[in-house]
Amino acid sequence: MAFITANWNPLGEAFYRKTELYDMCWNIRDGLGDSLVAAAPYGGPIALLREPHRRSPSSRPHLEIYSASGVTITSFPWKSGPVVQLGWTVSDELLCIQEDGTVLIYDLFGSFKRHFSMGQEVVQSQVLEAKVFHSPYGTGVAIITGSSRYTLATNIDDLKPRRLPEVPGLQGKPSCWVVLTQDRQTKVLLSTGPELFILDNTSCTNVCPPGLSPQAGSIVHMSVSFSYRYLALFTDTGHLWTGFSNLQEKLSVVDTKKMTTPKQMVWCRRPKSQQPSVVLMWDRLLMVVGLCNDPIQFPVEDLCVLVGELDGVRIISSTNQELLQEVPLVCQDIFKIASMAPGALLLEAHREYEKSSQKADEYLREIKEQRMLGEAVRQCVEAAGHEYDSTTQKSLLKAASFGKCFLTDFSPDQFVQTCRELRVLNAVRESGVGLPLTHTQYPHADHMTLQVLIDRLVYRQFYPLAIEICRYLKIPDYQGVSRVLKHWASCKVQQKDLSDEAIARAVCVKVGDSPGVSYSDIAAKAYECGRTELAIKLLDFEARSGEQVPLLLKMKRSQLALSKAVESGDTDLVYTVVSYLKNEMNRGDFFMTLRNQPVALSLYRQFCKLQEQDTLKDLYNQDDDHQELANYYVSASYREKRLDSRLSLLQSAVDEYNKAKNEFAAKATEDEMRLLRFQRKLDDEKGAGLLGLSLQATMEALLALGLHKQAEQLYRDFRVPDKRYWWLKLKSLAEKEEWEELEKFSKSKKSPIGYLAFVDICMKCNNKYEAKKYVSKVTPEQKVKAHLAVSDLEGAAEAAIERRNEAEMGAVLARCSTSDQLLIDRLTRARATAVKK
């Protein structure tokens, strides 16, 4: 603890420190000198393209990918063309920019993803230099070609390469250049030696950094800060100009007294930097140059790689890795020798407390007197976040926790938060994982960026750790554990050495029914890898049948897709599949498929009924569904206006009904055809207007027209039941008040409908006289009713008494009024005797 400040180096007001991150796990005997190196910021992976040991035409360079701690992830011989530049995208994909302008993209594990080209003209002129840069739009690539022209692509995922205007007087490549992102525009700043140009989409402007005297010489190296705000220029006279990248303002000019061009030059800042600096590296020297004139110098043994970070610079050598950063103010306050800052006192107090010394109380008193205890706790917590060493973290946090005990209304949020974050950070910093993130780089507060952290672990296939972190941070399953499982499963299905069965089982066991994991997505992945059978197995686990359908269709398992769609109960989905099948299959197969799926078939039928009547017919034909086909013809016949086509449709219906063994319907249809012909004949002869009427209506109309003979003919021809005909004739005659005819009719033979109907109908036409004629003919059972119908109470009473029917007597009684006292008496008496019996 005492040595915490041992590696602090003063730079102006501030201090800089180098923290050891890792002893690199890799084994690189001949250093990094000969290799193309790309190391991603935020503790990203490192890629090396190493030239072969023995140069021979047959030997090829080797591409190696390591984690930030130097753990080998993959390595393979490079078989494509010569590579000019390596770079990492924001989503940890490796870009290899070849001489011919082709950019190959590999994933973290070295499997080839895709490629794109920076333009046709590059193939000839070749790439001289290339840079990979990150902007709010994503990862971009800039190249300069042999014809001294720049081509720029701001986002490789939405590739729109732009060729920038020509730079006047530029031959070959410029002495140095950087890509700037300013005002939502991506530009190139380049130096041709004496002159500095800004190159944007349309123009090339000569610029001059303010405060850089011409005597300073020409610019040979330049660097832009992580945030693109600051710019550093190095001249061949050893002067370093620092200022804003918009070239409006200078920060300082420092003479490094080094005439050689540095190998690398990187900004080293942190948010709220006191003393931002630029790190320059020569063969054996590392120099940290601030705004003031006294740079820090470190000797270096072999060549290193500098990686600019948000809050420092990582220095990767062949043996170890260090983080160079400005010591945060709060750490300075606490650890500076003889500091009296509240945090420092609290730390001291706690240390004494652990030694059981009463000095602890003195220190505490001192802080409390200044009313600074809260501030002290805050400082300790904050400083803990910035410390890399876990023992230091612990002592600071313990101190904070100790101080907290003496505060009553201190919110524990920050303390808890920091503990949690440090726990996660320490876990991912582990050499085995190799994500050396600082607390400043830790995604704060919102889960969207935490998700990025989880994703990065997932890409590296650290599934258990990712799940632990999700659970530990209580990230909702949907965004956390489920996502990890999904990735895991998608990765699992690609394992070639396992059987379909084993993989499906493994996936099912792990994933179970976690919310938000879609088996169909996993299956889609399996299908992508050419494992159709596995995909189908996985789909079986998908609870929502609807989700299975699109993939099944893609896999051309249309039958299965259809049954799954039906299962889902979503008719829209069924319909989607049906219309897909309709286009994909020939008609016969299509119908056969539908036949096995009644739900889909009914749906399609409904559609056809409204849209494609003819298809409907084909559908029935295919199924040999004669009954439905016949029904179809019948309904078609009613839409037909012309009689002959109507008849021919009905004839088809008759044929189909016969095939369907529905004799009844066949007969009925034939009758209808006969009737239609008959109606047509009569319409033609007499203009009766019968066509389309039912048999009954036809007969009615005929009777109304007085065409008794024709009505009679229908009655016989169509075997109309006697009862029906009698009712009809009775009604018709009564309506026309042909009473004589009616009487004749009643006597023509014994009425099949009895004679009460005659009585009723006469009464309905208010003809009591006629009605009475029929009362006597009525059967004994109906006598009483008939008498009552014509309001002949005495007759009714007579009949009832004669029949000795109690109920009927009652009915008559009910109709009697007080004036019929005699009748009432008689009936009551009769009833009494009837009851006695």
Binding site: Q606, V634, A668, E672, L693, P721, W727
Partner: protein, 616 residues
């Protein structure tokens, strides 16, 4: 109400929220098409829309003119047209015609189609096929539920019945489950589900999936239990003549969307009057569930009371008079108006019902339900057909005969069908095919019942004695499902003693004491047993598909809890007012509150009209 409700009955939840939600969404959708626009409304959406947003609301949101969709060329001059329609292919095709006609005439307008309650892929396909997919914007108005009354919610989808049960087209199933889910999210969580029928099962399964996806809500439930039933489980009940006042009004005047139009014969003036029939109408509320035979006496009592109230005026001083006029008179006047309307309606019903020999008809129905005097009933039906009394009534009696007898004898089947076709035209071949398809009018399989024997006996003896023999035999007939069900569930009360309709003792009162509606009896039994245990035989006779599910969503399951006594009964394919009355009666008896959720209000005419063959 004459009979007192149990005092501990829980309160019904307030469903007016549903209207508000629907209205807000409609307004939002209308505002998506800013500026003046003409609105075309599907004919059968007019009345439901009227319950949600009246014309002035629509005008407020810049609807200029309102048109009914009539499938004819349009005359609108507006440059923005909005169509509010059901997702029907015919209507979409018509819209395509309108748009294409505009294109041909070089007219440029904006078109927006609002499908309610949802759109179907098939509709969009039509738009695509007709090449106007890009010219119209489409939207969905999730207007699933229309509360018709405090305890009736309707989906207003009469086509559900035909599409689902006849055509086997299941597209409305999702609509039904979404409707259920909407209620679940507003008044749930539901804790218990009972159901019977294929469609019910599907609705429940789909609802499950939807509910799984949705977020859990607080376990304070208004509605605790849900009973789902397919219409085809019980066809007998909707085919019977309704004799409870509300049902009778529906059968006679056709209640549309909770509103009835009384013609001049009721109002005794030359104008017809539209009346809302719901619990707000104090007079109606007291007679809606009453057997018709009680209605007159009730109304006259009411009239006397009213007179007394009016008579209070005599002997009032000026101050009292002033109070009377300002406080009571308006209410009395209103009551007076309603009373005279309902008296008029009752008279009109009486007139119509005696004309058709209504008593004879009822007697036949009751015979069919009881299984007595089948021969007489068949002759009655025959005569009914022969005399062309009414196309639908004859059909109704035929179906009732077929269901109660488990099919007609081949001889009767043929002759009755032939006579029906002679009376009403051969195009009814399709109607008959439809009825057969649904099992409403079928032929008995030979050798299935003892009625076969009866027919053989009938050849030996004359008609009359055969009828009596049938009576003796029918009680032995085993295969007839309705008969068996009726016996198992005691659907037909013993008819020895007189049934006092004024003091109903069971749900049979809605059919003059002749029959307890099967659907409601199932509800009663299942609620009583809290499941289907003990009803295995019954469900077997109903072709199974019954289910019971308890949801584990942390809802309070103790029966003491009010929500457990509020039961949502969902009828898939429609329910009748009689069934609602029966459920209300059951609720009063057992201390439940029933909420009826139905795809539409139906009755025998609507049911059979939906099955007529000569429509697409």
């Amino acid at each position: 109400m004459a009979h007192g409700a149990r005092r501990d009955s829980p309160e019904l939840p307030d469903f007016s929220l549903l209207k508000r939600l629907a209205k807000d969404q409609l307004v939002y959708l209308l505002e998506q098409l800013p500026g003046k626009k003409d609105l075309f409304i599907e004919a059968d959406l007019m009345s439901p829309l009227d319950r949600i947003a009246n014309v002035s609301t629509l005008k407020q949101h810049e609807v200029d003119k309102l048109y009914k969709v009539e499938h004819k060329p349009i005359v609108s001059t507006s440059d923005q047209l909005c169509f509010l329609i059901r997702p029907r292919i015919q209507t979409v095709k018509w819209i395509c015609d309108v748009v294409n006609a505009d294109k041909a005439a070089g007219k440029c307008r904006r078109y927006k189609i609002i499908f309610t309650p949802q759109k179907f892929y098939a509709c969009e396909t039509v738009l695509e096929e007709q090449g106007i997919f890009g010219d119209v914007t489409t939207d969905e108005w999730a207007f699933y539920l229309l509360p018709l009354d405090d305890d009736i919610i309707s989906l207003e989808l009469p086509e559900f019945f035909r599409d689902n049960f006849l055509a086997g087209d299941q597209r409305w199933v999702r609509t039904a489950s979404s409707a259920l889910h909407l209620l679940h999210s507003l008044y749930g969580p539901f804790s218990k589900f009972y159901g019977i029928g294929r469609c019910s099962k599907m609705v429940y399964d789909l609802w499950r999936k939807q509910a799984e996806k949705g977020e859990r809500k607080a376990p304070k439930a208004d509605i605790g239990r849900v009973f789902l039933i397919d219409r085809d489980v019980d066809f007998v009940t909707p085919l019977c003549s309704q004799v409870v006042y509300e049902g009778l009004v529906d059968d006679t005047f056709r209640i549309k969307c909770g509103c009835v139009e009384f013609g001049s014969d009721v109002t005794s003036s030359d104008k017809s009057v539209k009346v809302m029939l719901n619990s707000q109408d104090k007079v109606f509320n007291e007679i809606r569930n009453e057997h018709f035979s009680n209605v007159f006496s009730f109304l006259s009592q009411k009239a006397r009371n009213l007179q007394t109230a009016y008579d209070k005026r005599q002997g009032m001083d000026i101050k009292q008079m002033k109070a009377f006029v300002s406080e009571e008179l308006k209410g009395l006047k209103q009551e007076h108006r309603l009373l005279s309307l309902h008296i008029g309606a009752s008279e009109s019903i009486m007139k119509k019902k005696t004309k058709q020999d209504f008593q004879e008809l009822l007697k036949t129905e009751h015979s069919l339900l009881e299984g007595f005097e089948i021969r007489e009933s068949i002759s009655f039906i025959e005569e009914h057909i022969n005399r062309q009394v009414s196309m639908l009534e004859s059909l109704r009696l035929l179906c009732l005969l077929s269901i109660t007898e488990n099919g007609l004898l081949p001889k009767d089947y043929r002759s009755l069908k032939a006579q029906y076709l002679q009376s009403y035209g051969v195009d009814h071949l399709l109607t008959l095919a439809n009825l057969r398809h649904l099992g409403l009018l079928i032929e008995q399989q030979p050798g299935e019942t003892l009625t076969v024997m009866e027919s053989k006996v009938g050849k030996l003896v004359n008609d009359k004695t055969a009828g009596r023999l049938t009576d003796a035999f029918s009680s032995l007939a085993k295969k007839s499902n309705f008969r068996a069900l009726s016996r198992k569930l005691n659907l037909v009360p013993k008819s020895d003693d007189e049934y006092d309709l004024r003091v109903p003792r069971d749900m049979a009162y809605i059919f003059s004491g002749a029959y307890i509606p099967l659907s409601c009896k199932l509800v009663e039994q299942v609620l009583e047993r809290d499941g289907w245990t003990g009803l295995e035989e019954v469900t077997r006779l109903l072709n199974g598909n019954e289910f019971f599910a308890q949801e584990s969503n942390g809802a309070d399951l103790s029966t003491k809890n009010d929500s457990q006594r509020i039961v949502l009964v969902m009828f898939l394919g429609g329910c009748t007012f009689s069934e609602i009355s029966a459920l209300r009666f059951l609720g009063r008896e057992r201390g439940y509150k029933f909420i009826v959720l139905t795809t539409a209000i139906t009755n025998s005419s609507r049911l059979l009209e939906a099955l007529l063959g000569n429509q697409v």
